[in-house]
């Protein structure tokens, strides 16, 4: 190869490398919006690809007065960044000139250029190029490229570096826009949060004031009456009612605050448990489960609490029918749609129902739906409400489906198990699972001899006192486990006072169920 060919080959290789570098910067600037990451990468690419001594990126500060160094190659870059190196726009420096005039400036011999700033950190610089970063009419900064050789920049270098600088300018502008957007968004969020807190606080203050007043005024009247020895029963009732409402706030708002203990649970059974706890007749609620609907990943007690609040609202809205449809939904969730034919609500109430202390009903705290929202949010779920006046209300809840993990059968030898439960989907699951684990299992509401009695707390077709009396007669109280999706303190007390100390969370997987046996 002749020396001329060799030179041509080297030039072609360098051109290819520069184009690759320009492409690389182009790709980076479209993908990186964080300037702290983008700018150091850019100076490294420039120096590594072109073999230059130094490159740095300056950005115009907020005052528009200075170009401040934001990234610099190597130790000189680090030292200047640490010193807060900046150059005044329009000043006697290559960067000052390029940002002031919005034009590139090239000093092929720095000693001969009046605008070159003698930088003590870069003593070996012999030629320098300053490229303004311009977007439309605006200068956002400048790039400096420096070489230890005189006349280091070819026309090709200038062209590719200016292209690179133009792309960089767009990226910097985008990053600034994003930051402004984020700032505006944060301001808006802060304003909205403050507005919501103010609204909620003012509702709470109003509510507490209204509940406190009957107590303080009634106490004053009772004090005045004390001398005469007469007691106004109505005053006592007023105090009792106010106290009851305050306790309801504590139980509804503070109850769901504890962290959910989630596990795979059967959504339809939680609806049954909620209906039972609210005291609904079984016939009023129709539960329809789409084939293939998985369990949900939920804290059964918390979810029953949320469902109870929704069902209570339906009853108080004079619903004659409640239809619950449970089906698989998108994104690995399960949808529960609870539709009633009750009074419905006006459009202006629909957005307010999620705020605490908002209620259209007398003697209400307006905490039912806010508490349900709190529970659903804690489960990474969503909840929405649609309502038409005089037609009814539909509440839709989406809860993550349970992970379909292996649930092994645990066997401790065959036992005679009596399952005291209604004929419902959970009972079918329990019968099949316990039989598969080798137990002899019978479902009945009439008590008979057994090694173990599994008694569902939610019995629509039998009276609990009768069942307990039969268990006592058969001497089975000590062998009985009460199964509850949402045990309450009152239930624990009731069973314990009747000789049954074992109240367990109702199992919904084979492993949980067979562990009880």
């Amino acid at each position: 190869m002749t020396p001329q060919n060799q030179t041509e080959l080297e030039k072609a290789e360098r051109r290819a490398r520069l184009l690759e570098a320009a492409n690389l910067v182009g790709r980076q600037v479209t993908s990186i919006l964080d300037l702290d990451e983008l700018l150091p990468k850019t100076v490294d690419i420039i120096c590594d690809s072109y073999g230059f001594y130094y490159a740095g990126v300056f950005l115009v500060d907020e005052s528009g007065q200075f170009a401040v160094l934001r990234a610099g190659r190597g130790d000189p870059g680090k030292a200047m960044l640490a010193a807060g190196h900046k150059l005044e726009i329009g000043s006697h420096s290559m960067i000052g000139w390029a940002t002031g005039q919005r034009q590139a400036r090239i000093a092929l011999d720095v000693d001969a250029d009046a605008e070159h700033f003698k930088n003590p950190h870069l003593p070996l610089t012999r030629s320098e190029m300053a490229l303004p970063l311009v977007v439309g009419e605006k200068v956002v900064g400048a790039v400096t490229v420096q070489s230890t050789e005189e006349r280091a920049f070819s026309d090709e270098d200038i062209l590719t570096l200016q292209t690179m600088a133009d792309q960089l300018a767009v990226a910097i502008n985008n990053a600034h826009l994003l930051k402004e957007l984020q700032r505006a968004n944060a301001d808006l969020l802060r304003a909205k949060t403050y507005e919501a807190l103010t609204a909620a606080t003012s509702q709470a203050i109003h509510w507490i004031g209204n509940k406190a007043l009957p107590m303080t005024t009634a106490v004053e009247r009772i004090r005045a009456d004390a001398a005469s020895g007469k007691v106004d029963e109505e005053d006592l009732d007023l105090i009792a009612e106010s106290a009851r409402l305050i306790i309801e706030v504590k139980e509804n708002l503070l109850g769901p605050i504890r962290e959910p203990q989630t596990r795979p649970v059967m959504a339809s059974d939680l609806v049954r448990a909620a209906a039972f706890q609210v005291g609904l007749p079984e016939a009023l609620v129709t539960i329809d489960v789409a084939p293939g609907t998985p369990h949900i990943q939920a804290d059964s007690a918390q979810m029953v609490r949320a469902l109870r609040n929704i069902l209570k609202n339906s009853i108080e809205a004079h619903a004659k029918r409640i239809y619950v449809h449970i089906s698989p939904a998108a994104d690995g969730r399960v949808a529960l749609s609870i539709a009633d034919d009750g009074d419905g609500m006006l459009a202006e109430m629909k957005d307010k129902v999620w705020a605490a202390f908002v209620s259209t009903k007398e003697h209400h705290t307006g905490l039912g739906l806010p508490a349900a929202l709190l529970v659903v949010n804690q489960h990474q779920g969503s909840i929405a409400l649609e309502s038409i006046p005089y037609k009814g209300t539909t509440v839709e809840i989406w809860i993550p489906a349970a992970h379909a993990a292996e649930s092994p059968l645990l066997t401790n030898g065959p036992r005679d198990i009596l399952l005291v439960d209604d004929d419902d989907p959970w009972a079918a699951f329990a019968l099949e699972t316990l039989a598969a684990a080798g137990h002899r299992v019978t479902r009945a509401t009439a008590i008979q001899a057994a090694d173990l009695v599994l008694l569902d707390e939610a019995q629509f077709h039998a009276e609990m006192p009768d069942i307990i009396a039969q268990l006592k007669a058969h001497n089975l109280l000590g062998k009985t486990v009460i199964l509850s999706a949402a045990p309450s303190v009152d239930a624990v007390n009731y069973f314990s006072q009747n000789g049954i100390n074992h109240v367990a969370l109702k199992p919904y997987t084979a492993a949980e169920l067979t562990a009880l046996a």
């Binding site: 106290a243 305050i246 306790i247 504590k250 139980e251 109850g255 007690a301 045990p487 309450s488 303190v489 239930a491 624990v492 007390n493 314990s496 006072q497 100390n501 109240v503």
Partner: protein, 128 residues
């Protein structure tokens, strides 16, 4: 006259329950934490029933959420026949089960304690 010990660090609650029980004809003492309650039980040895809070200063004086359960256990070990009722702000069935397993005769939630007197009367008259 049957004698009852109330252990609760909330003075207004202890006083209010004391008034209710005094009116019902019981002798009532109060203690603001486990140490004082334990001291009272050991000093007099003639209490007929204990009404225990859960979240209060525990043994050693440090406030603990379940201090009352520790005291319940210690009472049950020392005087197995001394009836203990829990009166707590926690509406928590898990704690209620735990209390039942440690020998409590009942678990009452503050604000819904209206039948505590009835329970006490029933226990002290030899019922459940």
């Amino acid at each position: 006259m049957p004698k009852i010990l109330i252990v609760d660090d909330e003075a207004i609650v202890a006083r209010s329950m004391q008034k209710t029980l005094l009116r019902a004809g019981y002798a009532v003492e109060t203690a603001p934490g486990c140490d004082q309650g334990w001291q009272a039980l050991n000093d007099s040895q003639d209490f007929d029933l204990v009404l225990l809070d859960l979240n209060m200063p525990g043994f050693g004086g440090t406030p603990a959420e379940d201090a009352g359960l520790d005291m319940l256990e210690r009472i049950h070990e020392t005087w197995p026949d001394l009836p203990v009722l829990i009166l707590s702000a926690y509406d928590d069935p898990t704690r209620a089960s735990e209390a039942a397993n440690r020998g409590a005769r009942g678990f009452n939630v503050k604000g819904r304690e209206q039948n505590v007197l009835e329970q006490i009367q029933s226990i002290l008259s030899g019922g459940q």
